[in-house]
């Protein structure tokens, strides 16, 4: 019987493992489906990781290595090339069914589980870009893997749809490996990527960014031959007469990530339709006691640093759960309203064991100036914070303390009053 099994050895799983270990949980097993530890960081060979967590700029593999070294130093056990097929809930423990070439078919028993499976990319078909179905249309992450891990070129003349960070990073990467990035196309009137990435990945390479534009048709019966691009109005409807054909052999898609929770469904976790991840409390515990979750499987993060911090919280919570020192009475729901698209955690406890709780959230649109308000069900303001320049691409947080929860309440809402429209 393990004290804790962690599913996924990307940044979330590794940080959680190290944190749980540091908090005294020694009997840990990490299960990873890929051939090495590190997850998606292994293919993110650009730098920019770790500024918040380590105060230095690291590449993805360097960032991962810091945690991999700790996992190995602590002799935390892990299995690679191992796929978890199912989780089964029992009264006092959980059961995991995992398979691998090396270890065969395994029933693993554990007191706690940390879900850290990450996310997957949205595809061309999920957004139903019309046209034919040639090769040469792929997600930015898959292209990144081909180039950075396999050392293979995916194309020479490239259009990128989506100006999220992965799209921006890949625009630079494709340029560096000898492809011509013709343009980055973004349906929103603003980029969802970090400002530093727009400067360092597009401006520095003279790659044009077409805001309020989208790909309206894919051409080519075998390999991609070109895409039609058009301008859209504020309701994202194509403006007639703005269509333009761009000849290219590759279309990379950076059109969003979705938390990967198919496995979570085998244990009937409650899923938040807004985040598409498990509903969690301030301990990162899901709706099934003893099952915790962290990282992109819960909600999509903008920076890996925040993934690590969230995972460390989950690791610490596992230790508290095992020593039964986690206070969990009187649930207080945290509800996003209006221009706030979601909050994590979705609920907290009035007698929480934590001194402070960071409520992470995202806004639905670009906001120039606003006041963020956290109110309880009586309309009493718990927190009121002025904020400038918020964007859907960036994760926001608001901190509450145990003292804020000291009056008996059941429900708090997070909303935002826009004082200057962008």
């Amino acid at each position: 019987m393990f004290d804790c099994v962690i599913i996924g050895a990307g940044p979330a799983g590794l940080s959680a493992a190290v944190s749980a270990y540091d908090q005294g949980v020694k009997n840990i097993l990490v299960l990873e489906r890929d051939v090495e530890l590190g997850g998606i960081l292994n293919q993110c060979i650009h730098n920019g990781f770790g500024l918040h967590r380590f105060n230095e700029e690291l590449t993805g593999p360097e960032y991962a290595q810091k945690f991999i070294d700790l996992v190995k130093d602590h002799k935390i056990t892990y299995q690679l090339n191992t796929m978890v097929l199912e989780m089964i809930q029992s009264d006092d423990y959980h059961e995991i069914i995992a398979v691998s070439k090396q270890h065969g078919y395994q029933h693993i028993h554990t007191k706690t589980i940390i879900l850290a499976m990450g996310a997957r990319e949205r595809t061309r078909f999920m957004i139903q870009i019309p046209g034919s179905r040639p090769s040469g249309v792929l997600t930015a992450g898959t292209a990144q893997r081909y180039i950075n891990i396999e050392g293979k070129m995916v194309g020479k003349k490239v259009v990128i749809l989506g100006s999220g960070d992965i799209g921006l990073i890949m625009a630079r990467r494709m340029s560096l490996v000898g492809a011509k990035v013709l343009r980055v196309v973004e349906i929103e009137p603003h980029s969802n990527g970090l400002t530093r990435n727009i400067v360092q990945c597009l401006d520095d390479y003279n790659i044009p960014l077409f805001l309020s534009h989208t790909v309206i048709e894919i051409h080519g019966n075998h390999r991609l031959e070109g895409v039609s691009i058009a301008k859209v109005d504020k309701d994202k409807r194509v403006i007639e007469g703005t269509q333009e054909y761009v000849a290219c052999d590759t279309l990379l898609l950076s059109v969003g990530l979705i938390p990967e929770n198919e496995l979570s469904k085998t244990i009937q976790l409650d899923i938040d339709p807004a985040t598409k991840g498990p509903i969690v409390n301030e301990y990162m515990e899901t709706s099934v006691a003893g099952v915790f979750a962290c990282g992109n499987v819960v909600h999509i993060h903008d920076l890996v640093d925040y993934v690590s911090m969230e995972a460390e919280k989950a690791g610490k919570s596992v230790a508290e759960y095992l020593t039964k020192s986690m206070a969990k009475t009187q649930v207080v729901q945290v509800e996003p309203q209006g221009l706030i698209s979601y909050c994590v955690p979705q609920y907290v406890h009035q007698n929480t064991s934590l001194d402070t709780i960071d409520i992470m959230y995202r806004v639905k649109k670009v906001i120039k100036k606003a006041t963020v308000l956290l109110e309880d069900e009586r309309g009493e303001i718990i927190k009121k914070i002025p904020r400038l320049n918020m964007a859907p691409g960036e994760m926001e947080k608001i901190r509450i303390t145990r003292k804020d929860l000291s009056v008996p309440i059941n429900h708090i809402t997070l909303r935002l009053i826009e004082s200057e429209v962008a």
């Binding site: 069914i97 078919y105 997957r120 595809t123 078909f125 139903q128 046209g131 034919s132 040469g136 020479k156």
Partner: protein
């Protein structure tokens, strides 16, 4: 030059079914497929419904072969182990005018001898299919229908035919046919063949292939259809394929419970001149989704994981009927033209019909050694936990899961590649194993499957195709 008694041109579900039927007899048979895989033309662009035959016009050849073929499916699926489930079709009426139409369809279907066909009223309709829109008033219930994966039927038939002595060549586009004494010389991309008889089962290219023997009697145009795939595990399990009341020439956009647990919505119907038309439009996606949502209000657009499309060959002089006959220009050259919907349901009956035509000219004797059985590729994801354990103990490659969305193991992919007429492309692997067919559409597993294809087939990684000729995934250039 390979000599054979019968040569089939076209490895879609029709040609593959004919080849398998031929392999029952004491004769040699060869199939030539222009694409690099079986079932990769119009056969794959299909909703997979095995229609019962209520709507094929009574008196047509189509009606006879549809009803007969559909009834052959359960036994055939047992022999060949392809995916097939008996699932009724419900043609759903939302108003009294619709009711009149389904009453006409009932009359037509009863004349066609469709078993069990009847109109069911609201209560029974909802007990059969609780997911249906509460505004529905009644439906035409056809219990002899089913669902299948048409490309798998074609692959299974070909594998079984090869097992029984047939030869199959892919990448074998036929470019010329010359009449010679006692038969035909066929020039293809895979070399020359000589055959006493030829069966033309070339789908949308049927008219072009007939012209190679100077038979200009046919003109095929294409009815294009787009289809959607809805993610499985969205909590909606349909018990029946749900059809709207049909319009002229099409059964309309149906909501179909696919064998693997997804929902397929299809298809649109737009006439196209281009025989290689492969596009779908935004309007088609909207029409399909709206039609499905009218039938099953709980469907969500965000659950669409794939859009695909296919063509239906329509012979323009034949009033939408199948044309299956010996050419009146070229003796021993048999045409299967205009095998449009319900060509999937009809395929086994079409095959018997064609072989019966051959029998009118020659005596065919059944082979005593004919083995009707074909083993399918193990579906690891569907196996019970006990079976999974046993499979991995037997072959550790079952423990290496490569496609995480559909839970497909390396062992299944190796089997798909090394079978007779096995997979050589990513889509070939996908059609045989479902690897890459799930939510992420191959984003995670594609590089790994490329590795296996390259290793097992001994071809360079960057030469692996997505599907057809020139559909290279990578370009042949090093990363700078």
């Amino acid at each position: 030059m390979i000599k054979t008694d019968v040569l089939v041109i076209g490895g879609g579900i029709t040609g593959a079914s004919i080849l398998r039927e031929l392999s029952k007899y004491q004769l040699s048979s060869v199939l030539l497929e222009a694409n690099n895989d079986i079932g990769s033309g119009i056969t794959k662009g299909n909703g997979g419904v095995v229609h019962s035959g209520y709507d094929a016009h009574h008196g047509s050849l189509k009606a006879v072969l549809n009803v007969k073929g559909a009834l052959m499916y359960p036994e055939l699926a047992k022999q060949l182990e392809f995916a097939y489930q008996p699932k009724p079709t419900l043609t759903v009426a939302f108003n009294e005018e619709d009711r009149k139409t389904i009453e006409e369809l009932l009359t037509n279907g009863l004349k066609n001898n469709v078993p069990g066909l009847r109109i069911i009223e609201k209560d029974e309709l909802f007990s059969i299919e609780p997911n249906i829109n509460p505004e529905a008033i009644c439906a035409l219930y056809a219990p002899s229908a089913g669902i299948t994966d048409p490309y798998e039927v074609a692959i299974a038939c070909v594998e079984n035919a090869i097992e029984n002595g047939s030869q199959v060549f892919v990448d074998a586009k036929v470019t010329a046919i010359y009449k010679e004494e006692n038969g035909y010389r066929v020039i293809s991309k895979q070399g020359e063949f000589f055959s006493r008889s030829i069966i033309n089962a070339s789908g949308v290219f049927g008219d072009e292939v007939a012209k190679l023997v100077n038979d200009h009697n046919y003109k095929i145009t294409q009815r294009h259809g787009a289809l959607l795939i809805i993610e499985k595990a969205v909590g909606i399990q349909l018990n029946a394929s749900l059809f709207p009341v049909p319009r002229k020439d099409t059964k309309g956009m149906a909501t179909i419970p696919a064998c693997a647990g997804n929902i397929i919505v299809g298809s649109t119907a737009i006439m196209q001149d281009d025989k290689e038309y492969k596009k779908f439009s935004k309007e088609e996606v909207n029409d399909l989704f709206n039609s499905a949502q009218k039938m099953v209000p709980n469907l969500k657009r965000e659950h669409i994981i794939r859009v695909f499309n296919g063509l239906r060959p329509v012979e323009i002089h034949s009033n939408n009927d199948f044309v299956i006959e010996e050419s009146n220009i070229a003796e021993g050259f048999y045409n299967c033209i205009g095998i449009q919907s319900p060509g999937v349901a009809a395929a086994p009956a079409v095959a018997m019909y064609v072989v019966d035509l051959l029998k009118q000219k020659q005596t065919l004797t059944l082979k005593e050694t004919f083995n009707p059985y074909r083993k399918r590729i193990v579906d690891f994801s569907e196996a019970s936990n006990q079976e999974k354990q046993r499979l991995i103990e037997k072959d550790a490659n079952y423990g290496n899961i490569l496609c995480r969305c559909e839970v497909v193991s390396e062992a299944e992919i190796l089997d798909a590649i090394h079978r007779p007429c096995g997979a050589r492309t990513l889509d070939g692997v996908k059609r045989r194993t479902r690897a890459g067919m799930g939510r992420c559409q191959g984003g995670f597993c594609q590089p790994k499957i490329m590795d296996i294809l390259a290793r097992e087939l001994g071809i360079p990684y960057e030469k692996i195709l997505l599907e057809e000729e020139n559909s290279l995934v990578l370009i042949d250039q090093e990363v700078e």
